[in-house]
């Protein structure tokens, strides 16, 4: 078996704002951008890693999802309790500076955690928690 993790998804509520965050702030490459209006599916990934990507997708677009569920998901996104992802970089401080300069919501400045990692955290424009850990 040779299986890699290819795509994971995060929801957006403003595709253009999310695109700016992942492309211009995090420096990801845009692999594809389909759909229109709020119904857009945007695939982004770290530069030089074509095998790994994040699909930014409209939340609860599946027609099988009820109105109540849809409302719950959008409310959880707004509350910041829905989507999250853990990224990693060898240079946490430079990454933090760059993301902070992009006027993003900082959740946590670079911190040495008592459990042995050093990390920081942001919100993306949709309220997803983006935690970035230092590679050692």
């Amino acid at each position: 078996m040779d299986i890699s993790i290819h795509t994971t998804t995060l929801p957006h509520d403003d595709p253009d704002a999310s695109l700016v965050f992942y492309r211009d702030v995090l420096g990801f490459e845009v692999c594809s951008d389909v759909g229109q209006g709020r119904m857009r599916w945007i695939t982004v990934g770290p530069a030089g890693q074509p095998g790994t990507s994040i699909l930014l997708a409209p939340p609860a677009a599946d027609p099988g999802i009820s109105e109540d569920e849809r409302r719950t998901i959008t409310e959880m996104m707004a509350k910041g309790t829905y989507g999250w992802i853990l990224l990693a970089t060898p240079d946490l401080d430079a990454t933090f500076e760059k993301v902070q300069a992009g006027d993003s919501e900082v959740v946590q400045e670079p911190t040495d955690q008592p459990y042995g990692v050093r990390d920081c955290a942001f919100r993306d424009p949709a309220g997803n928690l983006i935690r970035i850990q230092e590679l050692r």
Binding site: T74, A78, K79, G80, T81, Q113, Y115, Q133
Partner: protein
Amino acid sequence: MCRPEWRRALVQAQRLADFARLRRVRDRIDREYARPLDVAALARDANMPAGQLSREFRAAYGRSPYAYLMARRIERAAALLRRGDLGVTEVCRAVGCASLGTFTTRFTELVGMPPGAFRRRAADAAGAADAAAGRPAPAAGPAIILDGMPAWVARRVARPVRNREAPAAGQRLA
């Protein structure tokens, strides 16, 4: 406003904007829990009356901002005590609690035992694990409690939650 569906959409948009504002308060507690934070200051900076903030925060996150702040502090305190190189009073100060009495009460309530007992038990467990693995006991070092999980998730899982069953065996919530 003649169409009910427009009105509903407006109400829902306002609700989402209010949630985003509460999210920023919660993120600020996560970020600044070690500073002398109080609900009045959080409410002032969020442009809301303190009572309204407490009510809405509790409705959104299941507990008041004060309870969330104290849970955050106690969670961090448990991590520091588990590490073993700080005393209870130092840990209390490090997590932003001004009163040792309040700290001890809340810790006992959330973790199921007083901070001193928790520290001793963590030291015993780390010593036993080292002895079992044939390692000499280190003077101080992080004890890995949930092997194989991203550390941040482990922290979330291990976070004290009031009125819910404690994750670790042998601990009982008050």
